[in-house]
Amino acid sequence: METLTVTGVSKTFGGPRPAIADLSFTLGGGEFGVVVGPSGAGKTTLLNMIAGLVSPDTGEITLNGGSLAAVVPERRDIAMVFENYALYPHLSVRRNLEFPLRAPVRRGQLSRSQIAARVAEVAETLRIPHLLDRLPSQLSGGQRQRVSLGRALVRRPRLLLLDEPITHLDAKLRHEMRTELKRIQRELGVTTLYATPDQSDALALADLVVVLDAGRAWQVGSAADVYERPANVTVARTLGDPRINLLQGRRDATGVTVLGQRFDAGQGPPGPVTVGIRPGDVELSTQPVLGAVAGRVLLSQTLGYQDVVYVDVAGATVRATAPAGIAARPGSPAWVRLPAARLHVFETATGRALRHREVV
């Protein structure tokens, strides 16, 4: 159970903007960490630096307290599952899985029969024993993904890095693999860092979430932390589906004004603020309700178990979830109520959170 610490790590690739800027976090032994952020956020760069494929300009990366700076990738004992799988196409699945065990750095550690046993074991865990004698070209995407995961796990690495491993699988398989990843990680207890653009991966899997955007860590915390108490607008926008509503408002000494309504929340020095409210917290009605603002339905999407309704309220678009089948046709009137307790308030200039919603 290895603890990974990343301290003040920066990397610039000659561009005007750093790929990673002053990044720090600690991932406890056996924990499942998720780095979530859009493409181009620096996720792969971060993983590559931890793996030793890219060296950081500044800062330090340690595993169980030992600095990795002077350790070449082949001696770090860190395994990585690549976004594009990166299997060895000229080797059979069995050879692919044996490859790390036969490495020069592990020479003499395992006997021939031990290697065979390990391969059989990992193939069993990933449910691919029937594929062992095939070539990667004879496998489907999902099967390649499993082989790639197997190659990473077979040597029981100190740290497992996963770079968008399930992004390219189809939706059904993605859910299946996600659950399975969690199961396998629990079983093996290997410290894992997982990079993904998909916020639902983060919320579903993570013991620790690192919200990465434009090379910066905007918040590091548990899934509940980053979802319930986003430190800034970027984090609020990254997590949650459908996305959080971010509405322009004003703050004064007694509260905030948004959509023409006043709330006794987030009072402070006067100035522009961004008010955030999750679509699930917005109360939507097709009848006039006390304390609600009138608007007009723009669009309604059904997710099956519920609908996401886009309502135009005084020029702003508010997303609200509603029970499936609510009579919200485009153009029909709708009333939107924002419960004061559920508002997040952010300073518009800096994006910094001033107030979080109350958790009931």
Binding site: N48, A51, G52, L53, V72, P73, E74, R75, R76, D77, I78, A79, M80, F82, E83, N84, Y85, A86, L87, Y88, P89, H90, F99, P100, A103, P104, V105, R106, L135, P136, S137, Q138, L139, G141, R144, Q145, R151, R155, H168
Partner: protein, 279 residues
């Protein structure tokens, strides 16, 4: 395999006749006597003329003028120089494909062009300079000199060809091998070279053909010890009349090594090694 249409078969049949006829002609000429050659065309052995081993006896006997030595020269020079060109060119191409160089204003593409440009000018231009260099270094008519010359001649080709092959190998596969515990050399040996096998085979094959067929370098840089087959064939011409039966016999023998090399390497070139590793 799909059955080809009759029209296609007919066309291919005609083409095969067309392509194989010169080989056939060479083959029967190698078994003819002088009279059969100059006395009108004779096509079918045992019918038109009586085959004889005269040419072969001369070639492998005393009158051959060190045919076997020249043959060995050709095989050794072509083989060794091609091997060197593939190994050295392979490393250069790998460097160009994987690392970014800065030599003054020169970047990777400039360096590539610089290397390839060595082959843009016709060899006749460089061979004169090479002659002067060889005289000064006492490399004229030596095996070492010829291997050096052929390696230099083929390097631009192999670098150019192999760079494309190395660039086609996803860098993640090498990264995976690094994380799997393989140092740089091992990564090249276990992953990169096997994946570049079709390229390495093709580069070797082309180098071999260029060196095997070379006439100019051999003409300018050798006179006896390091002479190669093409020059030997020409020397058979220098008599009062061309010794067609001998020339044909040598020509047939000269076909054998490239044919063997092609057959051996064809399996590697046809291999589609890169498919399947990626999503």
């Amino acid at each position: 395999m799909r059955t080809a249409g009759w029209g296609r078969r007919a066309v291919l049949f005609v083409w095969v006749l067309f392509a194989l006829f010169p080989v056939y002609w060479t083959l029967i000429t190698a078994f003819k006597q002088q009279v059969d050659i100059y006395d009108g065309p004779r096509f079918i052995p045992f019918v038109d003329f009586e085959p004889t081993l005269q040419a072969w006896r001369t070639l492998f006997g005393d009158g051959g003028g060190d045919f076997l030595g020249k043959f060995a020269n050709s095989v050794v020079f072509s083989g060794v120089s091609s091997l060197l060109a593939v190994i050295l060119g392979g490393f250069a191409a790998y460097g160009l494909a994987r690392y970014r160089y800065k030599y003054g204003p020169y970047r990777n593409d400039d360096l590539s062009f610089l290397i390839v440009s060595q082959r843009i000018m016709p060899p006749i231009v460089s061979v004169l300079a090479l002659y002067v260099v060889f005289v000064n270094l006492r490399l004229l008519d030596t095996a070492f000199g010829m291997i050096l010359a052929y390696t230099a001649m083929n390097l631009p080709l192999t670098v150019y060809l192999l760079r494309t092959f190395f660039e086609a190998i996803p860098v993640e596969v090498e990264h995976a091998a690094a994380l799997d515990g393989y140092p740089q050399w091992q990564r090249l040996l276990r992953v990169v070279f096997p994946l570049a096998a079709p390229g390495l085979a093709a580069a070797f094959l082309l180098s071999f053909f260029f060196a095997w067929n070379d006439f100019l370098f051999s003409l300018m840089l050798t006179f006896n010890d390091a002479q190669t087959l093409p020059l030997y064939i020409t020397s058979l011409n220098a008599q009062s009349q061309p010794l067609w039966w001998l020339i044909s016999a040598v020509g047939l023998v000269a076909l054998v090594p490239p044919a063997i090399v092609t057959v051996v390497l064809d399996r590697f070139m046809a291999r589609q090694v890169l498919i399947g590793g990626m999503r």
